[in-house]
Every structure is written in C-alpha cells, then in structure tokens.
C-alpha cells in the first residue's frame, strides 16, 4: 500500500540507536557492534605472490624457452620432412592433361561415366602404410549455407527426421514430394570420383593396388553419430519413401555395392565427406594402402597409373582436384608449419633474450648496485 522507494536504508539505520549509549533509550534491543571482522580476506591482506617482470627476471625464461623450442622445432621439421608425400592434380584444366576431355564434357545428365588415367612415377618407395587422399581447391565447404545444410537427426537414424528432414536442408529437403535421404547440400555434393591405383612394373603389367576403405572415418562418427534408421537389415526397405539426393547417381543404400555394411548413412566415404573442412582448399582421406608384411615397401618406386572415374565437376567454380599419397608419422601427414613455427618462435625468444640481456646490463644492474650494500 504505501510503497515508496525514495529513502535509503541508511536513514533508517541511523535513526536507530545512534545514541545507544544513553540509558534511557527504549529502542530495539541490544545493539550489535558494527566493527568489521579483522580477517585477511576482509582487510584485503590475503597472501599473494607478486611476480615481477623485469629484464633480469624474464631473461632466463626467454633463453630456456628458446633453447627448448628450437630443438623441438627442428625435431618436428625433420619428422615432417621424412614423411613422403606425392600429389597429382587430375582436374584436367590443361588441354594436355588426360582428364581434359572428361572435365570438358561433363554433364549432370550423362549416365555414362567418363574414365581417365593419369600416369605418374614415384621416385622413392613409400615404406609404411600409405594414405590416399583426394583434395579439392576453391571449394567452400566452410560456407555457412553449406555447413548448416544437413540434418544430424536424420543421419543418426531418427525415423521421423528421415521422413521429415529439417528445414535447414532446404533446398535439398525434398524432391518430387519425397524427403531426400540424406538431405542437405553437403550430402548432395558428395565427392563421387572413383580413384583406382595401379602399379606398373618393369614388364608394364598393371597390378591393382589394394585400397582399404575401412577406418577412414572417426570412430565416433561411424558408431555414434551416423546410424542407419532402424537397424541394418534391409536398407532398401528402410529407405523406402525417401529419394536420393538430386546430384547422386544412386541412392544412399547402394553407395558401396561391394560391402553390404558400408551402405546407408554409415558409408565411410560419406561420413568423411560430411566433416566439412575449415579452408576452401582441403583434402580428405580416401583409402588406406596397408603395408604388406615383410620388407617390401607398400608402394615401391616406379610407375603408377591412377584411374579416375570422373564424376565430380569442379571447373565451374574454378576448382581443382588432386590425389595425394602420403605416409604418416606419429603426428600425422606432412606439414612443416609446426616445426618452422617452433623454430621461429624459439629464435625470436632467443633473440629477445639477447636484447633483454643488453637492456638488463644497461639499466638493471645499475639499480641493483645502488640497492645492494657491499
């Protein structure tokens, strides 16, 4: 009823027992002392560590960091350098390149696959497991429209999402009134070139190199994130009532005719594609060439033929397609950046250490001598 907010509490408080000493004060009971607690916290005397950054104190740190970083950097650089990597661009931009005609004559409607072969030579043998990547350039997998155009519930096997995909998938949500499975632009643009590798020995015999397609996707993706709807029994039935993505030649349950349990949403090529890259130039793991037992290198030096079933158009957006063969170290593929960065930062550290040493000699020592009695 009488609600007002004008007055502050302090008035009210002060009305109370300011003269609490006077005996005649018939006020509100015993007045508690307002003396603040004398604790370290309340008196702001908490023990504290006070690091002081002067040239003298940070000097050792700089040298130590420099001395640690540079060897690490060298180690990383050497590791990276020891990795063998071979890259071949098969886009077919140049008129002389084998895939020129395939690239040139590409049509969305053609039912005929265009195959081209690229010859290359490995100067050095690839000893351990070799990983085969495909690389795309100028392909904006990190575009917002692209990244969001998927339905993770559908990919997780949710039946309602299968028949009624998320709106994020537009315009690849439905086709001819049927829901698209898998919906969205990412799935729609699945990389569908087929790469086959042959070793050409001295007799010019083409030996196909076995390419393993298992284990190219993250474990969590393969086993948790991507699930086929209602088990794995008969995918054709499961996906009934849905339609394939517009750009696809075959439905999702026929992605891998050779292996039954590599179909549907858990097809590993598909899963790998669905992890969208950070930069417009990227590569994705395609196949693994397991090391044969014994001493023979996985890929001996010599001539190779790469057979490409050219399905994927990139020339319209001035893209490039590459095939990369690479061995792997404990820290992954070939990338000298980390090593160089370590060496650079270490060197800068060292350099700054020297500068600080000079500064220290010029300024700090003078102060110290004034302070320290002899």
């Amino acid at each position: 009823m009488i609600a007002a907010m004008m007055a502050s509490s302090y008035n009210a408080k002060e009305e109370d027992g300011h003269h609490s000493g006077s005996s005649s004060h018939g006020g509100a009971g015993a007045v508690k002392s307002k003396k603040p607690d004398n604790t370290a916290f309340k008196q702001q005397r908490l023990p504290a560590w006070q690091p002081i950054l002067t040239a003298g104190t940070v000097l050792p740190a700089f040298f130590v960091i420099g001395l640690i970083f540079i060897p690490i950097g060298i180690g990383l650089y050497v590791t990276s350098n020891n990795i063998k990597e071979f890259e071949v661009d098969y886009t077919g931009v140049d008129i002389n390149s084998p895939c020129y005609s395939c690239a040139k004559n590409f049509s969305w409607n053609s039912t005929q696959s265009c195959v081209c072969s690229v010859n290359f030579t490995l100067e050095q043998p690839f000893e351990s497991n070799v990983f085969m990547y495909y690389g795309l350039s100028n392909f904006y997998q990190n575009h917002r429209r692209y990244v969001k155009s998927r339905d993770d519930s559908q990919l997780n096997g949710d039946l309602s999402a299968l028949m009624n995909p998320s709106k994020e998938c537009e315009p690849y949500r439905t086709n001819d009134g049927l829901p698209i499975a898998p919906c969205g632009a990412i799935a729609n643009s699945l990389f569908n070139d087929t790469l086959d590798l042959y070793y050409v020995d001295s007799n010019s015999t083409k030996t196909p190199i076995p390419l393993a397609k298992k284990g190219i996707a993250w474990w969590t993706d393969k086993h948790v994130k991507f699930r086929n709807p209602s088990g794995n029994t008969n995918l054709t039935v499961t996906f009934q009532g849905t339609t394939k993505p517009v750009n696809w030649r075959k439905p999702v349950y026929e992605l891998d005719p050779s292996e039954a349990d590599n179909n549907g949403f858990i097809n590993e090529d598909f899963i790998v594609w669905m992890r969208t890259a950070a930069l417009p130039t990227f590569r994705k793991l395609y196949r693994i060439i397991q090391k044969k037992s014994g001493t023979t290198p996985t890929l001996p030096s010599g001539r190779y033929i790469l057979d490409i079933t050219y399905n994927y158009p990139v020339l319209s957006f001035d893209g490039r397609k590459r095939m990369i063969l690479s061995t792997i170290s404990w820290m992954g593929g070939k990338n000298p950046f980390l090593g160089i960065a370590y060496i650079t930062v270490g060197s800068i550290c060292f350099f700054l250490g020297v500068v600080l040493l000079i500064i220290h000699h010029k300024y700090d020592t003078r102060n110290n001598s004034a302070d320290i009695p002899n």
């Binding site: 009488i2 007002a4 007055a7 502050s8 008035n11 009210a12 408080k13 009305e15 300011h18 005996s23 005649s24 004060h25 006020g27 509100a28 007045v31 307002k34 003396k35 603040p36 309340k42 008196q43 702001q44 504290a48 560590w49 006070q50 002081i52 950054l53 002067t54 040239a55 690490i72 990190n142 917002r144 692209y146 155009s149 519930s153 709106k167 632009a185 729609n188 190219i216 969590t220 993706d221 948790v224 994130k225 890259a277 950070a278 930069l279 990227f282 590569r283 001035d318 792997i328 992954g332 070939k334 990338n335 980390l338 960065a341 930062v345 600080l356 500064i359 300024y363 700090d364 302070d371």
Partner: protein
C-alpha cells in the same frame, strides 16, 4: 482518510484518542525504503536493465536472432547469456534490497508508547497511526511527526535534537499551544477531543500550518514550533505527549530522504564512449564483411558454385548479410562487462565497509560506501574541498593554552614534526596526547598573589560564565551541554582550574569559585560595509595577485589563499570569477572562511566546470550537503553532527583522517582494479571475435562461425568470466602500507595513466595481434587436414575447438600477466577457467545424441586431445602470443621504471624490513627516490597510531546559538533555563 490526507490543507482528524485508532488503521506507520516488492520486482528490474544501452543492444541482437536464417549462431545464443547476466544483476539487486528490508524492519519494530483503550500501551513503530496520542521520554526518538500536547517542562516546552533531519546537533526548542499545556495526566488526555487540521505531507522541514479545534474552545493556529518531527530525539525533557499527524512516508524525514544523487564516474563515461566507438567498429566490420559477401557472391555465382544451394535464399541480400554480421560480431562489445563491473564495484564497496582501519569504535561507525558507482573516482581526486572547523577538528576541543597579561600558560607537547608532516592521519592522535590543560604555574600565580593574579581570576571567571552552556546534573556529575565545542572546552577548562560552573537560572549563572557573578550577555555587533567598495577592492586585489604571479599563474605554487565569505561573494560574481579561479588554482591551498552552504557548492561547481579534474567534497554538517552533492565525489563524516551530510554523501567515514585511506588505498586500488577489469574485458572479447572476421575471409564472407555456437555464447559468462572478477576484486599493485607511505603513487591513478584512450587502443591492437596468431597458427598447423597418426582428417570445428582452447588459455594467461598480486583466487580463476573449459569440452563432446544438442561437437574432445598438433600448439600458440607482451613489459619496466614498480620490487625483494633500514644507516648516499624508498619499511604502520586515537570523548555540540527561526531566541532560552528547578514527572 488517506485520500484526504494527501490533499494539502484538508486533513481533518478527530482528536478523540479512542476513535482515532480504528479510523486510521490503514495509515500505519509502516515505512519502506526498499526499491522492489515481490510483485514489482520483475517488471521494475527489467525496465531498469533494458534502459541501459548495452543491455538494449543485446536484447536487440537476441530478437534479431529469431529471424530465421539470419543468425549464424542459432536463436538463443545471445538470449541465454543475457538472461544469465540479468539474473546475476538481479541477485545483486535482491541482496541490496534485502538489506534495506532488514534495516526497515529494525526501525519499524522499534517500540513506543501510545494511548490506546484508555491506557498507555507499548506498540511497535509500524503500528503507530495518525491521530494516536504518543508519549515519548527523554532520549527516545520520535516515531512520527506529531503536534505537542504537553510536556514535563513548563509551558509545554521541550528540547529536541534534529541531527537526523538537518544535521544540526544543537538542541531546538519546541513548544505546545498554551491551550493544551494542561493535558498532562492520563485522565486529561482521555478527555481531550476535537479536530486537528493540517496541510498535506510535504518535505519542508521548517514549515507546518494547521489548526487545532478543541471542543468548546476557539480554534488555535499551529505552526512549525508545535511540531516534533520523526527522527528527532527528545533531549533534556522528561517526557512529551503529542498527537501523530504524519506517519511513515508522509513524515518529513521520509519525504526528505532522497536517494543519494546518481553520479557517474569518469571511468564509466570513458567506458561508455569506448563502447560506442567499439559499436562503430562493429558496424564497420559488419559493413566490410557484407561488402565482401556481395563481392564474393558476385564472383561465385549460383551456377558456378553448384554445391552451395543458395538459390532463392537470403544469403545474397545485402541487408540480411549486414544483420548476420552484426549478430556474428555483436560480442565484440563485452556482454558481461556491465554486470562484471557492477559486481566488482559492489565488492569493492564491501571492502570499504569492511575496513577495520576505517572503523571508529567510539561511535561504532564503520565506513560506508553508499554508492559503489564512484569507487574508482576516489582514485582520481585532484581537488579536495573540506569543511573546515567541524570536519577537521572532529568537533573535539580542549583548553590547552592561554595568555593572561602577557604570560603564556600551558605547554604544548612537542609535535613530532616529521610525523605530522608525513601524514595528516596522525593529527587526531596528537590532539589526544594531552587532553587537559596542565600548567601548575597558573594556579600557583593566583595562590601566591602574583601581580597578575586579579587578571587571572577575571580571566577564569569570564571563561566560566560567558557562554551559553547548560549544566545538567547527573548524580553529582555535571555534564555541560555546550552550544559549540569551543565553549564547552573553555568551561571545562575553567572547571579544571577551580572555577566550576554549576547552575543557571533565568537571571544568573552560578559558579563555585571565589564569588558569584552575574553576567549579562551582550550582542554581537556587525559591520555594515558598502558592498560597492568591497567589490572594487576585491577586483583590485585579485588582479594584483594574478598579475604578480605572472607565468606561474594556474600552476601550483607554494601559496595559500585566504578569502572570507563576504569577499567571496564578489569574487564569485561573473566578472571576477575567472580571475578568482586563476588565482585559486595557482595556490596550493585555498581557505574560505565564513561561507554559506551555497557558496561552498558554488566554488566546487566552479572548479568542476572550469578544470577538467575530479573534485571531492568532505563535510559533516547540513551546510555541507550542497557541496557534497555538487562534487564528483561527496564524502560525509558520520560523526557527531548528525546524518544530513552522511545521507547525501557517496561515502561516509567516521573520521576525517580515514579519508587518507579511502583515497590512497581504496580509491587507488579501485581505480586500478576497475580499469584493469574493463581493459581486460575488452581485450578478451576482441581476441575471440576478431577471429570470426579472419575466418570470414576464408569462408566467402558467409558468416559461418569457427566455433560451436554455445561455446561462443558461454565464453563471456563461463569460460572467461572469473579472471575479470579476480582482477577487479583482488588485484593490488602494492600493499596498503606502501600506498599510504607513498602518496606519490596516487598520482598514477589521478592522472588516469592506467586508463585512457591510448591504453585502451593499445589493448585492442594487442588483442588484434593475438587474434591473428591464435587463428592462423592452428589453421596453418592443420592445413594438410591430416593431423592424426591414423591418417584420418579433421573438420572446421576441430580447428575451431583448437583455436578456442588456445584463446581461453591465452586469455587466462593474459589475465595472469595483468595480475600483480596472485592471491589464491587469482590462481583459481586463471587455472580454474582453463580447467572449466576442458571439462566442459569433454562433456559437451559426448552428450549427443543422448541430449539433442550440439551434434557437431560429438567426439571432438577425444579427437582433439589425441592430436599431437593440439598439444604442441598448446605450448606454442599462447607462448607466441604472450612473448611480445612479456618482453615489452619487462623492457619497459627495466628501462623506465615507475615509482610504483620500484615499490613493488622492494616489496617483493626485501622480505626483511630491517635490511632497508640498515642500508640507510650505512651512510650510503642515496638519491632522492631511493631515500624515499627506504621509508617503506622504516615506519610503523600508521594503523597502530590510529587505533590509539579512538579514545576521544564523545560530546555533542549543542549549538543553541545557531537556531535562527526558533519560537524563542537563544538568549531567551538560556536565560529562562533554571537548572536548579525540579521538573514535573508524568
């Protein structure tokens, strides 16, 4: 009834004690000073919050995110942090309001005696209603505004102290109408019946008009002299009976108690300015990105980029893109800054309240920060305006020395010159050294019939009788109710010398000494001078001084200017104002004597307006209210002279000497902390959100985010929320003792060296550099898309999570670098925040599809932590970022060491304080600063001296002489006083 009472000049009430009780029951004396009720809290609070520009901005962003397809970060990523932040602010408000509720309760639950049902009943204040007849006894506070019926004193007189109302501690006389004087006994009062008309509630303390219409009597006019106001205290009167006219919020006290004026600190103004500039930058960034998007879209047509599926959607629309980018970059403005600052300042205010060195045990008064907005302003004060007499002397005076017929008596204890010069905080303790005049020669001279003996006797007699002191007897103890402290001191001094003033009757004063004298008081005579002449003289003097100063005008000289109120009137006139200001600013000190409250605030206002500097006004009386409210920071002394100054102040302290700690320690610290906190908040936001801009360059300006949406959303409210708090609450550049010992350190904050446009942009550019490193290093590290030993690839979010982790680590370490004193909370904040993110990361990467949130995060944490690049980068990237900062700090510190840094070093190095003293004693010649620094450990902490100084006697100054509009003049009062008479009791 309640309606009527709100219409001025209309209130009418029956005087029958019986009838009034139930009639006016709803107009109870319940008094609430709180801001919110349970129901009003939400709308009121939200309104208050949304009114602030920053919150409104975030609300706008939150609303924009609801438009489909526009927001790059989902629909609720701004709303949820905003709600979180508002919740924190709300909790703070609730705590503050709860305190007010509690304070209200203590007042509302106080007891008083009311005539009800034919008997005196004790009820609580809350239940006092208009029309009640209330009895108040000596020393009690009045529960409501009431009209005097009768009292124990003759002619229904009574004495009240109104310090709660106007700050004047002098006793005021109020007198009931002769008509009602006789109603003293219970029966009389029961028989009292009639009507009382009075004006509606208002805030004029000195006005009251009403009419009393007793049955069978002529109406009698009522004026302010018949009214006792709530909050006043009954003194020197055994009891008084009155009729309640205003209760609760209608009472004059409540009508007068306004909120402390809302002042904004300089730092806040600068911050708001920078937020605006940052908002401008945000718009520019959004614009640049939108233009980039337009260009990109033109080059990457829908046909060419067949995979993008942009057909027909809004991504090519410039306006939508602009909105997208505004949403994307919105957190460049730190969403949590306002609430962080609020909590930080609130805590700082608590620290001020908790400071035991600013607690005055004698009056049980701790320091009180009435507002927390101005904490950092305390660190920037350049001009200090102090009320002179009362404030500086604490109204405690002692008779110490006198000269009679050319002979000086009483010796002054040797002042420790060094000490008093070093800090003024010890002054009160000095005055404490000799409370009494002790010089036996004075008495000896009387006894031994020294030639000047008659003069001495005359002198002492005068001391004992020429005053307006009223003696009160309490069991053989005479308590002097002195009108002013100096009078009291003189009478006490005379008493100590054997001239004891014992009683006063209307016609004589009685002293126990050689003989009894009757002295009649004389009037003060005033000079009336021709104002025109003074004006000319003032101008002449001012111009003469100004011209004589020449070049050093407006620079600080070793000069003091003394000017009195009369002259000031002319000096402050429009014509001379500038000259006066110039002259005043050239002096180290300016003393203005006999100035009116208005002049005080005028001077403050002049300096405030013409000099771009922070002003602080300190005072203890009602006459200081003006300047306290005018100055940037107002400090009230909550001591002897009542509460008016305190109630209008921003900070209240019990002793003038505490001002030193308030400014040099709390002010400087608060400034340091607040500015560090602000700069850091800006820094960390710029670091994270500029990364989105870099990412925009490689993702076709599509507005795609590099991080998971909730990770961004929670960046400010969880993962980097703690470091700003520890910086703002626990950081301290150097210890309290050294802050006090080196007032020079105050100059750093005073000149805003820690927070200005240059520093701010320095931080922003630093953040920019960090963001470049933080974005490009990880992206280059992952460029080959094969960071695992099993050859598998990664995605954009993998890179994003790495970048994010590095950002959190770097930003936390940066907070550590900014921290000068690592308390356990700093460790908790720095390492805890990193750990918090890691834990969150791990958990968050495992919840889908169990909890349908963040499918893109699934498995990220595991993969990131399996990646050697991540761990190697974790060492490299933060190092690369902070390398420059560390080197820069170290170099600057070494090459151009500031005093602060030198003090810090000494503090850190010299664990044994004795070492510095030894060094000094060894006779080594030290430069001035080094000499200064040796003081670090030499002096005992000033707190020791201070705690001894609290044994002063509490004596209220009762300035009878100052009441100007009383019903009876002061001389009449004192003369009519007969302390030998017994008073009637009820």
């Amino acid at each position: 009834w309640s309606l009527v009472s709100r219409v001025p000049d209309q209130i009418k009430e029956p005087l029958s004690a019986e009838s009034s009780v139930y009639l006016l029951f709803f107009l109870v004396c319940f008094c609430s000073t709180t801001k919110y009720g349970i129901l009003t809290f939400l709308p009121r609070f939200l309104y208050e919050q949304i009114r602030r520009a920053a919150n409104a901005f975030f609300l706008f962003i939150a609303l924009m995110q609801q438009i489909p397809d526009v927001s790059p970060t989902g629909r609720y990523t701004t709303l949820v942090p905003l709600i979180f932040i508002l919740t924190v602010a709300g909790i703070k408000e609730i705590i503050e309001d709860y305190k007010r509720h509690k304070a209200d309760n203590t007042v509302n639950k106080k007891k008083t005696t009311v005539l009800r049902n034919g008997a005196w009943q004790t009820i609580i204040w809350k239940q006092v209603a208009v029309g009640d007849i209330v009895k108040v006894t000596n020393g009690q506070h009045l529960p409501a505004d009431m009209v005097i019926v009768s009292s124990s004193e003759p002619q229904a007189m009574c004495y009240i102290e109104t310090s709660n109302l106007d700050g004047e501690t002098n006793l005021k006389i109020r007198q009931g109408l002769p008509l009602t004087t006789g109603f003293q006994t219970l029966e009389d009062l029961m028989a009292l019946s009639g009507r009382l008309e009075c004006e509606g509630p208002n805030r004029h303390l000195y006005d009251f008009t009403g009419t009393l219409r007793l049955e069978n009597q002529n109406p009698a006019p009522l004026g302010p002299d018949q009214v006792l106001l709530r909050g006043a205290q009954l003194r020197n009167t055994q009891w008084v009976v009155g009729i309640v006219v205003y209760t609760g919020h209608d009472s004059k006290l409540m009508q007068n108690s306004t909120k402390a004026p809302l002042k904004r600190s300089n730092v806040e103004r600068v911050t708001n300015m920078q937020i605006l500039v940052l908002f401008g930058i945000l718009l520019v960034m959004a614009l640049v990105s939108s233009v980039g998007a337009a260009i990109w879209n033109r080059e990457h047509t829908e046909d060419a980029c067949w995979y993008l599926s942009r057909a027909g959607d809004i991504s090519t629309n410039f306006a939508y893109n602009l909105l997208t980018f505004i949403i994307l970059y919105n957190n460049l403005i730190p969403i949590s800054l306002l609430v962080t600052l609020e909590v930080v300042k609130f805590t700082q205010a608590l620290f001020i309240n908790w400071d035991v060195e600013m607690y005055y045990s004698e009056t049980d008064t701790p320091a009180m920060a009435r507002t927390s907005n101005l904490n950092e302003e305390l660190g920037q004060v350049k001009y200090l305006f102090s009320d002179k007499t009362g404030t500086l002397t604490c109204n405690v005076m002692h008779f110490k020395k006198c000269t009679i017929a050319g002979i000086t008596y009483g010796h002054f204890p040797d002042l420790d010159c060094d000490r008093s010069m070093e800090d003024f905080s010890n002054l009160p303790s000095n005055s404490n050294n000799s409370t009494e005049f002790d010089d036996p020669t004075l008495i000896q001279n009387i006894e031994k019939d020294h030639p000047t003996s008659p003069q001495i006797c005359e002198f002492l007699t005068m001391m004992a009788v020429c005053h307006t002191v009223v003696p009160e007897r309490e069991e053989n103890q005479i308590i002097y109710q002195a009108s002013s402290p100096d009078e009291g001191a003189l009478v006490k001094g005379a008493k100590g010398l054997g001239f004891v003033f014992t009683a006063r009757t209307p016609h004589s004063v009685i002293i126990e000494a050689v003989s009894v004298y009757v002295y009649i008081f004389g009037d003060k005579s005033y000079f009336l001078q021709c104002s025109e002449l003074i004006f000319i003289a003032t101008r002449a003097t001012l111009t003469a001084h100004c011209s004589s100063l020449g070049d050093s005008l407006r620079k600080e000289n070793e000069l003091a200017l003394i000017i009195d109120g009369q002259t000031l009137k002319y000096a402050l006139s429009f014509e001379l104002r500038q000259a006066f200001l110039d002259l005043a600013l050239s002096c180290k000190a300016v003393i203005c004597c006999r100035v009116s409250p208005l002049q005080k605030s005028e001077i403050v206002d002049m300096v405030k307006k013409h000099v771009k500097a922070i002003t602080l006004a300190i005072g203890d009386g009602a006459n200081d209210v003006g300047m306290i409210q005018t100055a940037h920071v107002g400090v009230g002394i909550s001591g002897n002279e009542g509460m008016q100054a305190t109630n209008s102040s921003d900070y209240s302290i019990a002793q003038f000497s505490y001002l030193e700690k308030l400014l040099l320690v709390h002010g400087a610290w608060s400034y340091n902390r607040v500015t560090k906190c602000i700069l850091y908040c800006f820094y960390k936001n710029v670091v994270l959100y500029i990364i989105e801009l870099w990412f925009a360059f490689v993702n076709g300006f599509s507005g795609q985010i590099l991080f998971e949406r909730w990770c961004i959303g929670l960046y400010n409210v969880i993962f980097t929320a703690l470091p700003p708090f520890t910086l703002g609450i626990f950081d301290r550049p150097c210890s309290q003792q050294n802050m006090l010992r080196f007032p020079q350190l105050y100059r750093i904050t005073q000149n805003a060296e820690g927070f200005n446009t240059k520093v701010f942009w320095g931080h922003c550019i630093n953040a920019l550099i960090h963001s470049i490193i933080l974005f490009w290093f990880p992206l280059k590290m992952l460029e080959h898309d094969s960071p695992f030993s099993n050859g598998q690839g990664n995605d954009y979010l993998f890179a994003g999570n790495m970048v994010y982790t590095y950002v959190v680590v770097t930003v936390c370490l940066k907070a550590g670098m900014e921290t000068t004193a690592w308390t356990r909370f700093s460790h908790l904040a720095v390492w805890g925040s990193m750990a918090l993110w890691m834990v969150f990361f791990a958990v968050y990467s495992a919840i889908w599809p169990t909890i349908p949130i963040a499918p893109d995060m699934l498995g990220q944490a595991g993969r990131v932590m399996q990646c050697w690049h991540f761990w190697l980068g974790l060492v490299l990237v933060p190092t690369a970022c902070l390398l420059k900062d560390v080197a820069w700090t170290a170099t600057r510190r070494t090459v151009r060491k500031s005093l602060l840094e030198e003090v810090q070093e000494l503090e850190a190095r010299a664990v044994d304080p004795g070492a510095a003293v030894l060094r000094d004693a060894s006779g080594r010649s030290l430069n001035e600063r080094a000499h200064l620094l040796t003081r670090v450990f030499r002096k005992t902490p000033s707190s020791v001296g201070r705690s001894n100084s609290v044994q002063q006697t509490v004596s209220h100054g009762y300035a009878f002489s100052q009441e100007e509009h009383g019903v009876v003049s002061q001389s009449q009062v004192v003369r009519s006083y007969d302390t030998t008479r017994q008073r009637p009791s009820l």
